[in-house]
Subunit: 338 residues, 2 copies
């Protein structure tokens, strides 16, 4: 059974998932090689756990060919869906049993196709699948937050080549989300203005970090980017919850995302990257929910993994970046993708 | 000129060091290959900036052969030593000019020798060099904290094969240290007990996570280890400041460290790793200093880099670990190193 343990020195939770364990002697055999895609194409549906969601041709049966996007439970889940939450002390320490959902969003039935090489409509279907899985899982009162992310390439932690994202529903609010909530709340309390709206205005005014824009989204290299060519995709409409996005909005998000990833690929030679969707926590009381509506906004981060994480980053929690976001944005704007 | 920028969403500082910049087209040429050692052997002293410290044979001149440990400014520093601190607003954002020290501790004149393959006496000389550099740099009132770390192998962010550590003196207290200080202070306030002493007692009582011990140190796999086979080396004597360690203590630390790294190497096939020294911040007022004496203790982390950092870790600030520390400690205790 997986469990979450809390580090008493820094308050950080670690998910222990012994079912994903490699034997010690396997560790040094890892060489970043990616598993070839096999289980994620039409006709191989029996190789995964049964689907929990799919976008598929009318008239086709679940767990059979005909799908465009298919969501299945992770075969090696970091967390288990069954059971009640049981936080407990362990002497000096704290732990919770590892309750949660861990799903895989298979973005295409085509084994060699990257997300960004698909049509805007197909990418929008992936983004709509994210939304629909959140709408389903948020009914489970054990979950406090849902994280969706995508690891592309071995530098970004991917072990599988077939285009896919992952969803993890957690019984706690992770620190990266809590820090965002706290900053947004403090900003609103001090200024009665939305932090994300202020960032959008600052980026508009300066212009030099913006990579692209459409009617619903702006994409820019953040002021304090951790990584060279890091990107943030931010909706222009105030909305804390990704799952409250409309079809029309997700279609414009898909269009922006395709362009951003194509610019990275063309300009930097298909770098490995992580994509992370930050959306507001679930199960909030009405007063808290009203505050979130005022101060928090969902957004997507894209983190190209051109440089590693080393002792300085682990020691400080800070990052060293050799490339100013102004220069990164200028470079990405200039990449010709047509 | 380097600068520090603060991320308004999560309060994290990022060091921008354009002088370390690669051109965009260089990024995708990186393949984790390590630079061969050349500049760090006897007779090549002119290839580095002049030394700021060395342990060398009596009668030998600075910047000439005869040294065992040699400390030089980093040729590509992330921070600059010259100038006054100037925090300033940048519209919505915050930045500080990048004042700090960035030094390289060359651990041996022998190009192919790893730290752990040296004699205990030689390793103790490295640990004493850390101490002596802190004692020198703490006189500079601009510096609030000093981080010493070691990146070994490409997975751990090393770009150079020759055994070396790095020292960075910072004008701010990094978040990973601040979180430790806050946790230790809260624990002491609640219980009037030292958190590190409580951890040491808990680990003694349980025993199963301890890897080795001597008169002055205990080494264990922490309860909420982020990484498989992660290690913490903790002094038994209450002491917030690494630079207050005695020669005898550092000799016992060297002995423990050699054994720990040898166990990792033998058991896991020379994994890449980061080593991080956490020591109390500098320039504290007397009342604050008195509190540190009660609640904080210096310690060393060793982080084997057998698994990567991916979207889950970036999205949550949490980690997924497949190996329980109890099993990791049992495995490491059983490795035969003689």
């Amino acid at each position: 059974m997986p469990e979450l343990r809390r580090d008493p020195l820094v308050g950080r939770w670690v998910v222990f998932s012994p079912e994903r364990k490699q034997r010690p002697q396997d560790f040094h055999l890892q060489n970043g090689a990616l598993q070839e895609p096999g289980a994620f194409t039409w006709g191989k549906e029996h190789l995964t756990p049964p689907e929990v969601y799919a976008i598929r041709k009318e008239g086709t049966e679940p767990n059979s060919p005909g799908w465009q996007v298919r969501v299945v439970p992770n075969r090696f889940p970091a967390l288990r869906i069954e059971g009640d939450l049981m936080p407990e002390g362990d002497g000096l320490y704290d732990r919770i049993n590892g309750i949660g959902a861990h799903e895989v969003i298979i973005e295409t039935p085509h084994a060699t196709e990257a997300l960004e090489d698909q049509s805007v409509e197909a990418i929008a279907n992936v983004l709509k699948s994210y939304r629909n899985r959140i709408i389903d899982l948020r009914r489970d009162s054990r979950f406090r937050s849902i994280l969706i992310f995508k690891n592309v390439g071995p530098m970004a932690g991917a072990s599988l080549r077939h285009a896919h994202s992952q969803l993890i529903a957690l019984p706690v609010v992770p620190r990266m989300l809590q820090e965002r909530l706290t900053s947004a709340r403090a900003h609103y309390a001090a200024k009665e203005r939305n932090l994300f709206e202020d960032i959008l205005r600052a980026e508009h005014r300066e212009g030099k970090r913006i990579v692209l824009e459409n009617n619903s989204f702006a994409a820019f290299c953040p002021y304090a980017s951790r990584f060279p060519f890091e990107l943030c995709l931010l909706p222009k409409r105030q909305n804390p919850h990704y799952h409250h996005s409309s079809d029309a909005e997700l279609e414009l998000a898909a269009d922006a995302l395709k362009q951003l990833l194509q610019r990275l690929n063309k300009g930097l030679g298909k770098p490995d990257y992580n994509l992370i969707l930050h959306t507001a926590p679930l199960q909030r009381e009405a007063t808290e929910e009203a505050r979130l509506e005022a101060d928090f906004r969902w957004h997507i981060e894209v983190l190209p993994r051109l440089s590693g994480i080393a002792g300085f980053e682990f020691g400080t929690g800070f990052f060293i970046n050799s490339t100013l976001p102004e220069e990164a944005a200028q470079f990405l704007r200039a990449v010709k993708i047509q």
